[in-house]
Amino acid sequence: MKKLFTVLVACFLLLLSALPVYAAGGKVTYSGNAGNFVFEPGSEHSLTDLFPNFKGVMPGDSLTQKITVKNDADNKVKVKIYMRSLGAHEDSMEFLSQMGLTVQHSDDNTMAYMFDAAANETAQLTDWVCLGTLYSGGEVNLDVTLNVPTSLDNEYQSKIGYLDWEFRIEEFPAEPGDPEPPQTGDNFRMGLWLTLLISSLATFLILLVWRKKDREKQENAVYH
C-alpha cells in the first residue's frame, strides 16, 4: 500500500514537472484588417496594462518584463509595426521620474537600447520606432527593465504610475518573394462547414415538403 502511494506521488510530481511554466508576459496582438490591437494581460488599474511584473516594486529592485508583439493578421498581408512613448500621465510624473526604464529587442540583445531614460520620459521613443516587418504569425520580443534606486524615499510607498505607449501598424499585401508563414493551428473551418450542413439540410427538408404537397395536390385532383 505504501509502495503504491509512493508510486502515485512520484507520478503526480512527474506530471507537475511536465506542465509548462508560463512567465507573466505582456502581449500586443494585431488581428488584421486595420482592426484593433489587443493588449494583454491588463490589470486592475488599466485594461491595456503590459507590465504585470512591475507591481509592488521596492527600492533596489531591477525587474524585467518581456513583451511580445505579434502579427495575427491573415497570410495575405505583412505589417510594419512601430511603437512610441507618450510618457507618464501628469500625476505620475514625479513618481516615475525616480526610476529608470530600458527597452530593447530581446531577440538580439547586442543592439543598443531603443529606450534608456527615466521612466516618465519619452526620450528615444518620442518618435515612432519601427520594431520590424512581420509576416502572418510573426512576432518580435521586447525586454523592458525597470530599475528602482535604493534611495527611493518613503513618500513613494503605495504609489501608482501610469505610462502610455502607442503601437502603429502599416499593412501591406504579401508579395510572391515573401517567406511562407509557418503552418500553425487548425485551419478546419468548423463554422463554414456547419452552416453549409444546416442550410443543405434545410433545403432538403423544404424540397421534401414541397414534393409532398405537390403529390397531395395531384392526388386530390385525381379524386375530384
Binding site: 500586443v28 488599474h45 533596489g60 528602482v148 535604493t150 510607498q157 502610455d164 502603429r168 499585401p173
Partner: protein, 190 residues
C-alpha cells in the same frame, strides 16, 4: 455620336482612376492602439498587538497599579504587507507628560533570544515575512516597588512601544546584525 464617345471616355477614365485610388488605399491599412502601462510601488506595514495573558486586548484606558504589581502585557508585531522586513522596537516610559528612563519605575521581561538591544532599540533578530507575527517582545511589566513611592500617587505612568521597519529585500546586513541594514529612519524621526 462624337459627344457620346467623349462622355464614355471621361466616365471610363474616372472609373479607372477611382479603381487605382481605392486599390492604393487598400494596400496601406494603418491603425494605432494605445497601451496604458502601470507601475505600482510596494509598502511596509505592520500592526502592534498588545494583549493580556488571557489573550484579550490590553485596555486602552490603562490599568490601576500599586507598587510591586506585575501587569500582564504581551507585545508582538504582525506584518500587514506583501514584503518582508527588518524590525526594531523601543519602549518609551513616562509619568504624566514627562519622559522617564526605564530604570525608574518599570521592569520588563524582554525576550532577549529574539530581540537584541543596540543603541536604545531592540532589533528583531530575524526577518518578518509577509503575514507573520513576531514572538512577544515582552509579556509582563513589573512596577518596581522600590522606585514608586507616595510621590507617584494619582499620577499616570505610561509605557509606549514604538516600532520601525525597513525592507529586507535588496538590503544586505553585516554579520547577521539587523541594525546594519540600510534605511532605518534617522534619530530625529523616531
Amino acid at each position: 455620336m462624337g459627344k457620346i464617345k467623349i462622355k464614355l471616355f471621361v466616365v471610363s477614365l474616372v472609373a479607372a482612376m477611382m479603381t487605382f485610388i481605392s486599390t492604393s488605399t487598400l494596400a496601406y491599412y494603418s491603425t494605432v492602439g494605445k497601451a496604458t502601462n502601470v507601475v505600482t510601488s510596494g509598502n511596509i506595514r505592520f500592526v502592534i498587538h498588545e494583549t493580556t495573558d488571557q489573550g484579550k486586548e490590553f485596555p486602552k484606558e490603562g490599568v490601576y497599579i500599586v507598587p510591586g504589581d506585575i501587569v500582564s502585557k504581551k507585545v508582538s508585531i504582525e506584518s500587514d504587507c506583501e514584503h518582508p522586513f527588518y524590525l526594531r522596537v523601543k519602549m518609551v516610559y513616562g509619568i504624566d507628560s514627562q519622559e522617564l528612563s526605564s530604570e525608574e519605575c518599570f521592569k520588563l521581561n524582554i525576550d532577549e533570544e529574539h530581540w537584541v538591544l543596540h543603541d536604545g532599540w531592540y532589533y528583531y533578530t530575524d526577518i518578518v515575512d509577509p503575514g507573520e507575527t513576531t514572538p512577544d517582545v515582552f509579556s509582563h511589566v513589573e512596577i518596581v516597588g522600590s522606585k514608586v513611592d507616595n510621590s507617584h500617587l494619582g499620577k499616570t505612568l505610561t509605557l509606549t512601544v514604538k516600532a520601525q521597519a525597513v525592507q529586507s529585500e535588496n538590503n544586505p546586513i553585516s554579520d547577521g546584525n539587523v541594525y546594519t541594514a540600510s534605511g532605518w529612519p534617522k534619530e530625529a524621526e523616531k
